[in-house]
């Protein structure tokens, strides 16, 4: 039998053939993604026209024609406007940003004391970066340093008035310093407050629940400006005569209260998404309310709503620019304030300053949203449906 067996079994797999030439390579990509149908061709042509119309002028304006350094407005003004540029010139006036850079970052913080905010910024980055990289150990210690120790050090350094440091009024603060410090404190305050409000809203105690619902819905129904108005003109009336507090602190209270209401709704979404079995499981283990929440429910709920929390942070970071309305000067405020500087008044100044500010805001917000996407993927434990 054996020698007559003509059956044959392949011992190794045949190599896969390449896909046909029509569906690979750059040409096929173009066919699929750009000129798939008649409609597609028209769209592509329109899109190319749009890109050609917009991109080269922007590059021209922002880089090729731009003026990077200069003493005053003459470098950014055409001859007709009393400057040195040929008529019809149009380019970014980065020289303006360059000249005002210190102000844009720190406002009117006294020059000889500027090492203090810079030191705080260095400490902040040194503590934040290891916290953001998952592989670096000692997260607990790091978080305590960042959220408990650093604020104290920062307060001493920035405000001064002790340990031989001269006092710096918050009136003199400005620029990115105000933007970042307002949003950092706002984030640090609004997250725990939002958690408490969300738990309150889902509480079984009717009075606590009603109060939380009223607070959340009320704050979410009004614009931030009215909250800031409230903080700047009504809060002083609420305090006994003679007691007044800093405008910066008032803005801080306004922004934090506002963000806390939005945060509460985001976290409530997370709490609702946790299956009832988890609550009941915790109960059956004999855990008390706070043990149940901090050990079982919140870790899961917060993880679920990371995107929402970060979105609230981003919203708040952007909203700090509104403090300009109660005459405090954050990054955007300082930019706007400097439009009035006769030394730099040209048609290009406003645009350049605003685009620089937009770029800084964009960098922070985009960074935050990308980091949240990364964290979301990392923490994804496969429970997603």
């Amino acid at each position: 039998m054996q020698e007559h067996d003509t059956s044959w079994v392949r011992t190794e797999m045949a190599l896969a053939q390449q896909p046909p030439a029509g569906v690979r390579g750059p040409l096929a990509w173009v066919r699929k993604n750009l000129v798939g149908s008649v409609g597609d061709v028209i769209l592509t042509v329109l899109a190319i026209a749009l890109v050609v119309m917009i991109v080269p002028p922007i590059i021209n304006w922002a880089f090729i024609n731009a003026q990077w350094v200069g003493p005053d407005r003459t470098v950014c003004a055409t001859a007709g406007q009393g400057g040195i540029q040929p008529d019809g010139w149009s380019g970014a006036c980065w020289a303006f940003v360059n000249a005002k850079f210190g102000q844009l970052m720190l406002g009117r913080y006294p020059i000889e004391e500027r090492w203090r905010p810079i030191l705080v910024a260095i400490l902040f980055v040194a503590l934040l970066v290891p916290l953001l990289i998952p592989r670096v150990p000692r997260k607990g210690l790091n978080a305590i340093l960042l959220f408990l120790v650093l604020p104290i050090i920062a307060f001493v350094l920035l405000v001064g008035g002790m340990f031989g440091l001269p006092h710096v009024e918050t009136q003199l603060w400005g620029g990115l310093l105000v933007t970042l410090s307002l949003s950092f404190v706002g984030i640090a305050v609004s997250l725990p407050m939002g958690i408490v409000l969300a738990l309150g809203r889902r509480s079984k105690m009717p009075i606590v629940k009603t109060l939380c619902v009223i607070f959340i819905e009320f704050v979410r129904g009004i614009p931030l400006i009215t909250v800031l108005f409230f903080a700047s003109v009504m809060l002083p009336l609420f305090l006994p005569a003679g007691v007044s507090f800093d405008k910066y602190l008032r803005a801080l209270i306004g922004v934090s209260l506002f963000a806390a209401a939005y945060m509460a709704e985001v976290i409530r979404g997370g709490l609702q998404a946790i299956p009832k079995g988890q609550y009941e499981g915790a109960d059956s283990l004999g855990l008390g309310y706070w043990q149940k929440m901090t050990l079982i429910v919140l870790p899961q709920a917060l993880k679920l709503v990371i995107p929402g929390i970060v979105n609230t942070f981003i919203g708040m970071f952007k909203d700090t620019s509104l403090v300009i309305i109660i005459s405090m000067f954050d990054l955007l405020g300082v930019v706007k304030q400097n439009f009035a500087d006769a030394n730099w008044a040209t048609p290009q100044t406003a645009r350049s300053g605003l685009i620089f500010a937009a770029f800084v805001f964009w960098l922070f917000c985009f960074g935050m949203s990308r980091y949240s996407m990364y964290t979301e993927r990392r923490l994804d434990t496969g429970h997603k449906r």
Partner: protein, 395 residues
Amino acid sequence: MASQEVLREEPSRGSFINDPKVRGIFFQAVVVILLVAGVWWIVHNVIENLQRLHIASGFSFLKNRAGFDIPVRPIAYTSDSTYGDAIIVGLINTIIVALAGIVTATIIGFVVGIGRLSRNWLIRKICTVYVEVFRNIPPLLVIFFWYSGVLAVLPAPRDSFNLPFGSFLNQRGFYFPRAIWGEGSWLIFVALLVGIAMAWFVARTARQRQMATGQQFPVLWTSLALIVGLPLLAYALAGFPLSFDFPKQSTFNLTGGFQIGPEFLSLYLALSFYTAAFIAEIVRAGILGVSKGQTEAAGALGLRPGSILRLVVVPQAMRIVIPPLTSQYLNLTKNSSLAIAIGYPDLTAIAGTVLNQTGQAVEGVLIMMVVYLIISLVTSAVMNVVNARMALVER
């Protein structure tokens, strides 16, 4: 039965300190006491402060003469009008800019959101760049950009840009011809209303007929003919009563026509562009949220791509889209309060002026908050009705 009753003994409750009910009542009592004490303390301080500052509380100041002028006034208003009138002007301005912004933002948002799902790589990328840029910068900055960066550096009225249809664009805003409705032009509006009513009726009958017999009727074209054709016919019948007041260039200024100031323009453009980025993301999520099986099943039933989109995908996507869309509309309305930064006289700006002039801080802020709350509640209510009509009718 009896044996079970014997088993059911009263469980030992232990100390009443550990009873969650008792604890709850105690805790709430503490909250109420703290709240009442806090409110009493605040009210006490407010009364004392107001007395010290010699400010009379109450809303009677609304009947006093305002004494300031408002550049943009949709209703009759002079500086002799009352504070109450001024606030109403502000409210109307807020509503105008919010409505205009909502319409434009929705259109841009839907176009960009669908563009982000396009099969065309270039379109997809352009839309992504748009969304990522506008989502990540503050709306106030966008407003300033339009106001100081674009509109303020336009040419003076003398060198205005000439746009089609006799309109002009310069530093002082956008000028376009104003329609002057002559005698008999009410006929046109009546014809328009009749046209809309008839179109609605045609659509209803056509649907009933299709349900009964399966025969289709070109509803779209008939409705268009009715809505556009009837007013045109009325226009001709009434003897062409419509004429236009064109803006004319003189040495230093433009006269005639209708002017939209740069404040309104920059606020409107900024709010539309900013909110559109968020709406685009909502639309994209909505369309992606309709499972692929739905499209495939519709295809298997023999529907054409256009019909699949119109009859199967969009109705289901709208269900996902509407709730977050509502909150974006509310955000836009609330963000319109940023008008104060560039001097567009909206509710916040005027209430702020009133508050500064009269010193009625508590009342001023209260008016602002209550009005915005009402706007929010009304918008939510309207969108809830829309949502209820769109929502899936569950078994």
